[in-house]
Symmetry: C2
């Protein structure tokens, strides 16, 4: 007699992972993106004056141009939808590249703008996006000085994609990059996390609730210029984008070979983000941001750094959230209120496609 | 008695032109692209130190960085298909931006690379393209120092789109831009025209014929560095891309307010391109190139310029093709063997979408 199938245990075929083609997760800021970058892209490209150190791939390069240290970076923007609470693709495209320059300690100066437009996109939409870029650029004090426009046939893009590249000058005395991170350093976070990702996901999922968070999309350039008053005591800056706070710190820890310990109760998360994360099954530590940074500083500079952050309008609930340690190198541990720790790891990256 | 309809004169409704949405022609390098750029884009963006002069929009910007003249430019690449006789999107993406820098008289130094990948694209294709970029960069002597990768869902892109931005240094004594063009200047062309566009269109249309032209996709940086030996007698450089020779010269003439006269028999066109153009109903003067430039020089420098071009491997059949004139300002006249002239005008731009 055959055993009848157990209706409570349905045997599902294992999900097929196509390892030979590009997956959405390759763009998700997680482990698969890292695999793509380190496996295919980095071997072909150099890293400017830091080529020997192999900077984490999304950092600005800093190159010497006639005796001036020039920061140079690029970002493409494929966010969907184009317009969302708190921002739009145009604003993102300006702030995103400005912030990347700022994370090298640079004063952002000039941007380029490459547009890829889908046939059939309303010209009014293009106009709105470009005007939004102009406003954002004027607010930050950068100039968009060169550009390009391409059009592809209907169905071969999605409205508007934007690439911005940017250049800026790194002042003398500022050495801000992951290699300066050392055991004992304090880790500061400029504000509450998760707003941008939740603003996008709420819109996509049709979540309507009072006080739904807007994107935190903002320039960090002025905040960074204040932080540079710390001089050489400012070791590293990283803006939090795809993959959130967790991905940003895991990448630094792994690249530099240090450990980190974070205090869960110190990490600011507003209730609306926490609630939406629960609804959507997301971990706020991995949710994208577009106006937050971590600053890693010498222990003696932590208090001054916190005061600088607390006084700045771009920081919302700044806090010291942890420290760099010699223990468990390359790993980031999250300690809860009871002191119990769990290791944070990169997610695969499928959570939130096209978030920026 | 009603008049029977004349079967030889079918009344067709006028084609509908949707003026409220993006059209393929907006990316074609012709009149509609100019309308888009001047109507929507330029009003929002600055032009670096030439902001007062409003450079033609696809030129590199030249900005001052710590006392050094830095050329800065960007281009996006959406060519279809990705691989074509004589090149691929990766090579194009490197050479295209290198050439834009060279047209400002700059020595190209560093590039950025922004990839937009469509879900489902074979990783091997990505690898091939990136390796092609690496080879092209090494050949030219530039470094790709920073980058970004985004992935969009299937059906929201087309395989691979690439943006490259680039920076380079303009040496002292070199002032190369359209504003220097003056009546009496000679116009030189570095080689035969139309190969790139015909290579692409032949592939798309399934044309198979002996000796079908390959793309002329190539770096012009070294050729330009030779031309800079002309010093201040070198007035203007322009690489021929979308819209071909005609668009490049019409844009300069119109922007600067001069006239130009071209000698049709002096313009080199290889027979295979001429034949394919006839088959496809294209005018070679408007067909895209990716490895050709025009140089506009003082009349006394024309002979030396021609010798420099003729001696360089990147030039194929270089020739003096015309001169700048005070007559018919803002217009380019093409004179045939009998001395009869016709005015060249920008086409609308629908001829060849996604050519680069």
């Amino acid at each position: 007699m055959t055993t009848p199938p157990d209706p409570l245990h349905v045997s599902c075929p294992a999900p097929r992972t196509d390892q030979s083609t590009v997956q959405l997760a390759h763009g998700g800021g997680g482990r698969m993106m890292r695999t793509l970058i380190e496996g295919i892209l980095l071997p072909c490209f150099h890293g400017g004056q830091d080529a020997g150190r192999r900077l984490p791939p999304h950092d600005s390069a800093v190159v010497d141009v006639g005796g001036t240290r020039l920061a140079f970076t690029t970002d493409s923007f494929v966010v969907s939808p184009l317009f969302f609470p708190g921002g739009d693709i145009g604003k993102l495209a300006v702030y995103g590249t400005v912030n990347d320059l700022a994370m090298a300690g640079a004063r952002p100066l000039y941007l380029s703008c490459g547009l890829i437009l889908e046939e059939g996109t309303p010209l009014d939409t293009v106009r709105r996006v470009v005007q939004s870029m102009q406003c954002a650029a004027e607010e930050v004090g950068v100039q968009i000085v060169t550009g390009d426009t391409k059009v592809v046939d209907r169905g071969k893009a999605d409205g508007i994609f934007i690439n911005t590249a940017g250049v800026g000058i790194v002042p003398d005395g500022i050495e801000v990059h992951p290699a300066r991170v050392a055991a004992g350093d304090k880790i500061l976070l400029s504000g509450d996390i998760g707003r941008h990702g939740i603003a996008i996901m709420s819109l996509r999922e049709g979540l309507q609730f009072d006080g739904a968070p807007e994107s935190d999309c903002a320039s960090l350039a002025d905040l960074v210029s204040q932080l540079t008053r710390l001089g050489a005591r400012l070791h590293c800056l990283r803006d939090l984008t795809r993959g959130g706070l967790a991905a940003a710190l895991i990448e630094i820890a792994d690249h530099v070979g240090v450990g980190m310990e974070l205090h869960e109760t110190a990490i600011p998360i507003v209730p609306q983000v926490r609630g939406a994360c629960e609804l959507l099954g997301l971990d706020p530590l991995y949710v994208a941001n577009e106006g937050r940074l971590v600053a890693i500083v010498e222990p003696g500079a932590a208090q001054q750094a916190l005061e600088i952050l607390a006084a700045h309008p771009a920081a919302h609930g700044a806090a010291v959230i942890g420290e760099v340690t010699q223990r468990h190198p390359r790993e980031v541990e999250l300690l809860n209120a009871f002191g119990t720790g769990r290791l944070l790891d990169l997610l695969s990256g499928e959570q939130m496609p096209r978030i920026c």
